[in-house]
Amino acid sequence: MTGLQAYLLLSSLLFAIGLAGALTRRNAILVLIGIELMLNAANINFIAFWHYGPATTYITGVMFAIFSISVAAAEAAVGLAIIVAAYRHSHTIDLDSMNSLKG
């Protein structure tokens, strides 16, 4: 296993744990956090690929990571706003009980 593969494996594991959290938690906030972890996993990929890339003078990977962190923050803000507002309406953020739309 090369160094790059180790980083990729770590990011895959992080991605999968985030996914597992998003798929299993009832609390909508923790589902959102799981998604944030998945975004972080992608960032690890970017930095690792940049680090092991042919020329580190091209900082594309670094820039992509910076931008994706900003995007993730904005997403978290919007997501938490939606969750809080939904709670104010229905007094729950339990995803299992949110099933009135179906079919």
Partner: protein, 165 residues
């Protein structure tokens, strides 16, 4: 593969697993901060100092705090403690395991060696000048995105009497 990497990796995986598995949401967010810190350390180790610092500022400083606020706001009223895991959580877990096996298999079966050249840490000046040159368009876009997200979040979360009658 260095020892430091191993330590950081174990830290990240352990704290992430805890963040996704603990019962109390507040504890989850606290362990999550450890994860974010670990990832920042990973970035530092790889020579991307600025990204590491951004990571700490944005995730630990903003996202985690926001999440704590949100958890407190959504749990006080009825004192209702949510059941931790949803129905069919096992299926979700198995799905995640399957995704990981596929990803892991792909990573391990492809020999991506990478070039282990001498790493020149990227300087803040370099990043700043790139942001003003090659990356000026994404920068503008991010600005718009943050504006839109800010206004949207405020409108949504704003509580007005006539809105929630």
């Amino acid at each position: 593969m260095s020892i430091s990497f191993l330590i950081i990796a174990v830290l990240i995986v352990g704290s992430t697993a805890a963040a996704m598995g603990l019962r109390n949401p507040i504890h989850c967010v606290l362990t999550l901060s450890i994860t974010f810190g670990g990832i920042a350390a990973l970035f530092l180790q790889l020579g991307a100092e600025f990204v590491g610092l951004t990571q700490i500022m944005v995730y630990v400083g903003a996202v985690a705090i926001l999440a704590v606020f949100a958890i407190m706001m959504t749990q006080s009223r009825r004192g209702l403690m949510l059941g931790t895991f949803s129905r069919n959580a096992l299926v979700g877990l198995l799905t995640a395991v399957a995704v990981f096996s596929v990803l892991g298999w792909a990573v391990l079966s492809q020999p991506v060696a990478g070039v282990t050249a001498a790493v020149s840490p990227v300087s803040v000046q370099q990043i700043g000048s790139s942001l003003m040159h090659e990356y000026v368009l994404p920068l503008e876009l991010i600005g718009l995105l943050l504006t839109a997200a800010l206004i949207g979040a405020i409108v949504i979360a704003m509580e007005r009497k006539e809105d929630t009658e």
